[in-house]
Symmetry: C2
Subunit: 244 residues, 2 copies
């Protein structure tokens, strides 16, 4: 994604922690242009001076109006949790709206607007937007924390489709699995485990199904060998077993 | 997604705001089972008593160990920002790991572990995990805020693939567009706009390309009519124009 073409714009943010959190998520996902409109002065100053504040906050630009903040953008998208407001704009789920934004970013500057923690974007604010996106939260609790909303939206923009299958892990060789099985059978024999409970063939199948990873075959062999050594030991001895 | 089968487990969280933020994101996305292991006591109490704390925090279960917290889960997935640690586990990008988790949730309980704000999950913690996921943050700034990391992971779990095309908006009828064009041409004529700059045909094409939405055709006609009325008015008058 052409992250350089995105302007994240916080409108009327009130809480310095939220400004800082939004900036941090931006930095995490590589979106570095933050604009702030009508910020509560103290909040903005505190966010800038916070310990560990990211460069994104330091470089944030303060604008007097939304018009100024989005002036160089040809697509302006607002975020909303809907609530009770009657919306006059096309409203898209983030998954879908995100795809449109990603496409637009290839050729043009896009502004993504977030409203204040308490009230979201006003109808006046929304009149600068071409359309709106909504994070698919559940109806009973739709309104997200500002910093988290920014993180989720930006994640959607950088996200790649999951492709391929789970990597199949390489299993230990059959010879190694056989030796592990032999140790276990020997240990059971020495322990007096009743053959009627599980036949050697059944135990062999059980071990196969474990699908022991290649890089752990040696370790499994080693620890089974140690147990067998202890079980078959006649009289006291402290010498460790040597590999067969 | 079978959200009821997921256990979100915060290991050694230190900051009450982060516990609250994690719980809020869970509530937003409909995951209601929060477990907390080895929480700093004061943090947990403060998170519970915070104004606006969600029911998720209220119902959070405190566990003495990770083993207890994940005891009823058959898949345990850890989160990591990698950092410098040598990982012994398969590490999957969130997009891909999320798909596996979603699938597992259909049939079994899954635990998703998040480490402390400062250190993440320790190697000891990770030994309870089957595999790990990583949010695809950029290398230069990989470590996410805890509440934001929870929000992004849960969003991935509830997210639906974006399908379909942008809805094509219904455009105003050709007849209406023609009348709007006629008003504009009349207004230009009355204003003394030089025909050599834009011929009527060119202006007709410009208006067509605006693709005026059906529901706004009337409004555009009305305001153009008003302008034409004012331009063509001879002498003072206050009577509004009537529709033609």
């Amino acid at each position: 994604v052409r992250a350089d073409n995105l302007r994240v714009v916080l409108v009327s943010p009130r809480n310095p922690l939220n400004i800082g959190a939004a900036a941090r998520a931006m930095s995490n996902f590589g979106f570095l242009h933050l604009g702030v409109v009508n910020a509560y002065d103290v909040a903005f100053r505190e966010a800038r001076s916070a310990v560990g504040a990211s460069a994104v906050v330091g470089n944030a630009v303060e604008y007097a109006s939304i018009a100024d903040a989005v002036a160089d953008c040809s697509l302006v998208v607002g975020t909303t949790s809907i609530g009770n407001r009657q919306l006059q704009h096309p409203l898209r789920r983030l998954e879908f709206g995100g795809r449109l934004i990603r496409r637009a970013l290839e050729n043009e500057r896009v502004a993504l607007l977030f409203g204040s923690e308490k009230f979201g974007l006003s109808n006046e604010d929304l009149s600068w937007c071409h359309w709106l996106i909504r994070i698919p939260t559940r109806e009973e609790h739709g309104s997200m924390n500002l910093g988290q909303a920014v993180a989720v939206c930006l994640y959607e923009l950088i996200r790649r489709p999951a492709t391929g299958k789970p990597e199949s892990r390489k299993a230990a060789s059959s010879a190694k699995v056989d030796r592990i099985t032999d140790y276990l059978l020997e240990a059971l024999r020495e322990s007096g485990y009743a053959r009627t409970l599980s036949t050697p063939a059944k135990i062999r199948r059980m071990i196969r199904r474990l699908n022991i990873p290649e890089q752990e075959g040696e370790a499994w062999m080693g620890l089974m060998r140690q147990i067998v050594w202890k079980l078959t030991q006649r009289g006291p001895s402290t010498s460790p077993p040597s590999p067969r």
